[in-house]
């Protein structure tokens, strides 16, 4: 078993933001998300569910971290704790050195939910403008940002449609555009491409990795697809259920930062994918 506290698993976490001298990279990025001994127990009617157990995770600026694991292993819960939508039972999280609540009130992150969560009385464009209205941006700026982001997700021309006039995948793309319109430094995405077909998914993956590289955003990305995780990530966090915990953290430094769809054919890609798969298998063996 690879415990998160074993030296092997924590090695990617032990990037020396506290011990500058031993940095393996020239300019160590500052920490954006830091979770220490994070546990969360849902008090349900019959028996409490331990959704997260002693999770330690450090995410540096510019990281693209994927959370992967079987259904119910606490990926959404971890994202929600970071976003201050859920209070941990014990342990602590810091976002840019702040509490999650402070970070939320400062609108430091954009959250893409597992479901599109569009407001049916607003047109597509006005859905994208919703966070901008709340931020108090000027009307012209709201329009400009909404159009830019809708174009980015390939939905130009659908501005005046209502969400229920769109397919499920298009709705999810609107919700991505809505999160991007905030222009947050930290993007939290909960299976954003789960409802999309393979080709659109490839297309958006490519867009996302280009956006990430161009803007230097920090991304935390939940997925069920090993290929997607390896393609996008700088690090992959493999989780396992009952109780939800981190099994393995896999570095993807072997892959170049600049990625095209071709890298999926390289042996480095295959090697990382293999390691993720092994980790997932290990997680499943606890069920038997």
């Amino acid at each position: 078993m690879t415990s998160p506290t074993s030296p092997d698993a924590t090695s990617p976490d032990s990037r020396p933001f506290d011990s500058q001298g031993a940095a393996p990279r020239p300019a160590p990025a500052p920490t954006v998300v830091e979770a220490r001994k994070l546990s969360l127990v849902y008090p349900t009617a019959d028996r409490p569910v331990t959704a997260l157990s002693e999770v330690d995770l450090t995410i540096a600026r510019g990281d693209f971290v994927s959370l992967i694991g079987p259904s119910g292993c606490g990926k959404t819960t971890l994202l929600r704790v970071i976003a201050d939508l859920e209070r941990p039972t014990s342990g602590a999280v810091a976002i840019e050195g702040m509490t999650p609540e402070q970070a939320r009130l400062k609108r430091l992150y954009g959250y893409v939910f597992q479901a599109p969560a569009l407001y049916p009385w607003r047109t597509v464009e006005r859905n994208v403008m919703l966070p901008l209205e709340i931020m108090g941006l000027a009307k012209a700026e709201r329009h400009a940002r909404a159009r830019e982001q809708l174009e980015r997700v390939g939905l130009s021309g659908f501005e005046r449609k209502f969400p229920w006039q769109l397919s499920g995948g298009m709705q999810q793309r609107v919700s991505i555009a809505r999160a991007l319109a905030l222009q947050p430094d930290l993007l939290l995405m909960d299976e954003p491409f789960g409802a999309l077909d393979e080709i659109t998914r490839d297309h958006l993956n490519l867009h996302l990795t280009q956006l990430w590289r161009a803007t230097g955003k920090t991304c935390v990305f939940v997925t069920h697809s090993i290929a997607e995780a390896v393609f996008l990530s700088t690090r992959i966090v493999v989780m396992s259920p009952r109780p939800g915990r981190i099994l393995d953290v896999i570095d993807c430094d072997a892959l170049p930062r600049e990625r095209t769809l071709d890298i999926r054919e390289t042996p480095e890609f295959a090697a990382i994918a293999h390691r993720v798969r092994e980790g997932l298998k290990e997680g499943h063996s606890y069920d038997d």
């Binding site: 939508l85 939910f113 919703l130």
Partner: protein, 391 residues
């Protein structure tokens, strides 16, 4: 007999090409009607043909020609779908005019079984035409068909009441009610202004406004909701006739007591509906607002109130009817000498039932106008809601 399934378009078969068995059955019934009398005049039986019946054969010929023309018309003429249906409709109207003509001639229709059978045939013909028109989308289906239906009912009422000589004290004909409406227009307008424009509007705005405001408060203060909701059930069981005299004692004869009755009747329906509406937002929608750092007020305005709109309109629509009933009933227990309830109670005592019916007509029109206006507003503002889409 009815060899045509509903899906078969009756206007595709012309008289030349195929038999329409439903129409054949109607024609047979009409033939039977021709054997029976139209009515009596001065004790003598009046038949369809011969000098006594006046222009009756002309009406008959007109109807037959209209039906034949309607059947042979093309399916579509320029922008008009089923032009034949309109021609047949004219035939039906002509048939309904026959009894009015006969009554003008002084014929007593109460024993005119031939005429009544003929009118049954006309009604069945109208039924078939309406069935066709109801299949035409747009204005025809949503406005014209219900309108024609209402007109048909009024025509039936008029012909039956006058044909059988029902005493006006029991049920006046629509034309008599309309005449009373026109003759008493100034009085009825004063009643309308006092009851609707003063009492109902003020009471309605106060009752709905208070229900809404308290619901917003109760949403923030949970014990209020828990305490008030059971009271709502209690209040809905209070009889108006019990509360109205008390309110008249408390607030006097003028509009204030009527408004008070309306407030009592409308407060809880609005409260209950608003509370239900405010609880209608999904968790993920609320989480989204939270993730934007939006506070209570913004979440209320941008998410929870729009989500509550269908519930709010439900409350407003229920209350529009309740308010009108409340005001009219409350006026039975004391008013300045004007108002719809006052008018009904005094004119009933004087056996002036034409005015009573005219007032009832005003109340019915007001109520449906009020309700219809709200329903229209609802359609405009909640077109996004699943129950409204694609209508």
């Amino acid at each position: 007999m009815s060899g045509h399934p509903a899906t078969v378009d009756p206007y595709r078969t012309t008289l030349r090409t195929a038999a329409d068995w439903g129409l054949v059955a109607l024609a047979l019934l009409a033939l039977a009607a021709l054997m029976l009398p139209l009515g009596t005049r001065d004790g003598a039986v009046v038949g369809w043909f011969g000098g006594a019946s006046g222009a009756a054969p002309l009406f008959l010929i007109g109807v037959v020609l209209a039906v034949i023309a309607g059947r042979s018309a093309p399916r579509r003429l320029a922008a008009i779908q089923y032009p034949g249906a309109w021609v047949e409709l004219a035939g039906v109207a002509l048939a309904l005019l026959l009894p009015l003509h006969l009554m003008n001639e002084g014929v007593d229709l109460s024993a005119g079984w031939g005429l009544w059978l003929f009118l049954v045939v006309a009604t069945l013909l109208l039924w078939r035409v309406m069935g066709t028109l109801a299949g035409v989308p747009g204005w025809t289906r949503s406005v014209l068909v219900p309108g024609l239906f209402g007109l048909g009912l009024l025509a039936g009422w008029e012909v039956l009441v006058r044909g059988f000589g029902v005493p006006a004290i029991l049920l006046p004909a629509p034309s008599r009610i309309a005449a009373a409406l026109a003759a008493n227009a100034p009085v009825l307008w004063d009643d309308f202004r006092q009851t609707v424009l003063v009492s109902v509007l003020r009471g309605y705005v106060m009752g709905c406004g208070a229900g809404f405001a308290v619901a917003i408060l109760a949403d923030r203060v949970p014990f209020l909701a828990r305490g008030l909701l059971p009271l709502g059930n209690l209040a809905s069981a209070i009889p108006v006739v019990g509360i109205a005299p008390i309110m008249v004692m408390w607030f006097g004869f003028d509009w204030q007591s009527k408004a008070a009755v309306i407030v009592v009747m409308t407060f809880f329906p609005m409260l209950v509906n608003t509370l239900a509406g405010l609880g209608n937002s999904e968790r993920i929608q609320l989480d989204l607002m939270r993730s934007y750092g939006a506070g209570y007020g913004r979440t209320l305005v941008k998410l929870r109130l729009p989500n509550a709109l269908p519930f709010l309109f439900n409350g407003l629509k229920i209350n529009s009817t309740l308010a009108l009933i409340g005001a009219i009933v409350a006026e039975f227990f004391g008013t300045p000498v004007v108002g719809m309830g006052f008018r009904i109670s005094t004119e009933v005592a004087r056996m002036n039932l034409d005015i009573v019916w005219a007032t009832i007509a005003v109340a019915a029109l007001t109520g449906s106008g009020f309700y219809g206006g709200l329903a229209l507003l609802e359609r405009l503002t909640t077109a996004w809601h699943p129950s409204m889409r694609g209508r």
